[in-house]
Symmetry: C2
Subunit: 324 residues, 2 copies
C-alpha cells in the first residue's frame, strides 16, 4: 500500500466537492465550493485547482506525497483524451481539456472519470460492494445514472458511454424521458418521475392525502410522497410499488447481461428503503433466471454523498498508485 | 504467432463438431459426429476425445504441435472448475468434469467455454467483429443466445451466466418464454417464436398466403414465413417488422449498458436479411442515445456454422497459446 494520498474531485452543476484521501480510503480533509459554471471554463479550471490546493492544505500533506488527482465529471467525456465534451448542467464548459489543464496548473498526474462511474467505483472499493469482484450501481436521483465495475475495472465501453442504464428501454411505448426518447428506466425510476406521476394521478382524480396541498399550489417532493406512503396513502404506495417494479425489470436485465456479484442502489430515492426494495425483490425473484439471481445481491449504497470524491480518488489510486 | 494448432469442439444436442485450427484461424480439418447424449457422459467424453483424435489425424498434425483443446458446451457451466453442470439438450450428462476428463484422456490442455460465448469470440477473432475492441453477439435460432467480448476477453460474469441476452425482459406483461418467465427477448425474436406468432395470427383469422397450407395440417417454418414476406404477404411482413423492432429494443439496451463497438447477429433468422435489419435499424435510430449508436455498427455474422468450433479453438489459443 502506497503512503501517498490522492485527491478526488466531484464536479456537479451546483458544487465542486473535493477530498484528500489516503490509499486506504480515509478522508483526511474535504471541501465543497460553488461551481460557478456560468463563468466559463477558465473559471471552472481555477475552481478545481483551488479546491485541490485547499484539501491538501487542510490535510497538511506536502505536495510530494500526492499520488494523483481524479476528477469525476457529469456528461459526455472522452476519457482517454482527458476532455469533457458536453458537461451536464454546466453551461459554457464544452470541450474542456480538463486533464491537461489541471495537470499543468497543479503538477500532479490527473485522471478524468464519469461521475456515476466514480461513485460506483467507490462502492466497489470501500462501500457496499467492497468484497464483490464485479458490480453495477444505479443512482436514483433527479435522473437515473449507472456505473459498472468488472474485475476491478470501470467499464467505459467503446466511446465512454457504457453504463447509461437510465436509458434502458423498459416500456417501448412508455413515458417520455428527459433524453427525448420514450419508455426509459429514468422515466419511471427517478425522483423527478415519481413526482410527475404523482401529479398525473391527482389530475386524474385519484384520492390522496397530499391532494389538497398539491391543488393549492404547494410543491410535492419525492419525500412527501414517501411519507404519505408510509402513512398508508394508497396512491403514494402504488407509485412506489410501480417504481420498484420497473427498477426490478432493469435489474433483471442487468443480471442477464452482466451477471454481476452485486447491484448497488444509491441516490435520494433509496431513502424510501423497503418501500422500494420490496417490489424490486419481488420482480427479481419472479423474473430473473435462478442462476443469475442466486449469486447476485441487490443492496443500498453505503457511502452517501462522499461516493463521488472517494471514487475519483480511488480511480486515481488505481491508475497512478505505484506500490499497491 | 505460435506454430501450434488448436482443436475446437462445438458440442450440440445432435452433433459434436470439431476442427483442427491454426493460430491464424485456418481450419485444417473438421468433422461432425452424432452426440448420442442419451448414452451417458462416459460415451460423450469418448465421442469428444475421438473427434479430437480424428481432426488431428485429418490435419496430419503430430501431437506435440497441439497447443490445446477448447470445448464449447451449451447450458449451465462452471467454467473455472471445468465442469458442465446442466447441459442444454443433452440428457444424462449432468455434472461432467469435462476439462479434467478430456485432459486425462488426450494429454492436452483443455478449456471449457459456453457455446454462445465461443461463437461470439470467433466473430471477434476472425469474423464480423475482427477489428472491434468490444462486441456483443446475439444468436437468433431456436432460442436467442448471447455472447459478450470486452477488450478481447469473453465476459463470464460472477457465475458464468453473463450474456443471457435472450432473457432480457422487453415486454413486462408479454409472451411466455421457454424459460418459464414472460416477455423475454427470446419470446419475440427466436425462429420458434416467429412460427408461433404466425400460427396465432392465422388462428385469429388474419389473411395470409400460407393459411391454407397451415390449416390443412402442414408445418410452416421461419423460412416459409420469410418467403411469404418477400412475396408481399402482409401478416408475414408484419411479423418480421415486429421481430426486428423487439430485437432493436434489445440492441438499444445492449448499447446503453455496454457501449460495444459492434453488435453481431447470427443464427438461422439472419437469412431474412433486410427484412430483419430494416426494423432493427429504425428502432436503434429512434431510440438509442446518439453517442451510443454513432459508434456501434449492427451487422450480420460472417462465419456461419463454423463459428462454434473456431471460437472454441480461439479461446484455447488465447488461454494456452504461448507466443502470440
Amino acid at each position: 500500500m502506497t503512503d501517498k494520498c490522492f485527491v478526488g474531485v466531484d464536479l456537479g452543476g451546483t458544487n465542486i466537492k473535493a477530498g484528500c484521501i489516503t490509499a486506504d480510503a480515509e478522508i483526511l480533509s474535504k471541501i465543497s465550493v460553488p461551481t460557478e459554471g456560468e463563468r466559463g471554463q477558465e473559471h471552472v479550471i481555477g475552481r478545481i485547482c483551488g479546491a485541490v490546493d485547499s484539501v491538501l492544505e487542510g490535510a497538511g500533506r506536502p505536495r510530494d506525497l500526492v499520488g494523483g488527482v481524479g476528477i469525476g465529471f457529469p456528461g459526455t467525456l472522452d476519457i482517454k483524451a482527458g476532455v469533457v465534451r458536453y458537461p451536464a448542467n454546466i453551461p459554457g464548459c464544452r470541450n474542456i481539456p480538463v486533464v491537461q489543464r489541471v495537470r499543468e496548473r497543479t503538477g500532479f498526474p490527473v485522471l478524468l472519470e464519469n461521475d456515476a462511474n466514480a461513485a460506483a467505483y467507490a462502492e466497489y472499493w470501500v462501500g457496499a460492494a467492497r468484497d464483490a469482484g464485479s458490480m453495477v450501481m444505479l443512482t436514483l436521483g433527479t435522473g437515473v445514472g449507472g456505473g459498472i465495475v468488472i474485475d476491478g475495472k470501470v467499464l467505459h465501453g467503446n466511446t465512454d458511454c457504457a453504463g447509461e442504464l437510465g436509458h434502458m428501454i423498459i416500456e417501448v411505448n412508455g413515458r417520455k424521458c428527459g433524453c427525448g426518447k420514450w419508455g426509459c428506466l429514468e422515466a419511471y425510476a427517478s425522483a423527478t418521475s415519481l413526482v410527475k406521476r404523482f401529479a398525473e394521478a391527482v389530475q386524474a382524480g385519484h384520492l390522496t392525502v397530499l391532494a389538497d396541498h398539491f391543488k393549492t399550489g404547494g410543491k410535492v417532493s419525492a419525500r412527501d410522497i414517501y411519507e404519505a406512503a408510509i402513512g398508508g396513502d394508497e396512491v403514494s404506495c402504488r407509485l412506489f410499488r410501480e417504481t420498484g417494479s420497473y427498477l426490478g425489470m432493469g435489474i433483471v436485465n442487468i443480471m442477464h447481461t452482466l451477471n454481476p456479484a452485486r447491484i448497488v442502489l444509491s441516490g435520494g430515492m433509496i431513502a424510501a428503503g423497503d418501500l422500494l426494495m420490496r417490489p424490486i425483490r419481488e420482480m427479481v425473484e419472479a423474473r430473473a433466471l435462478s442462476d443469475a439471481q442466486r449469486n447476485c445481491e441487490v443492496i443500498f449504497a453505503a457511502l452517501g454523498e462522499d461516493a463521488g470524491l472517494l471514487g475519483a480518488a480511488g480511480c486515481a489510486l488505481a491508475e497512478f498508485g505505484t506500490s499497491r
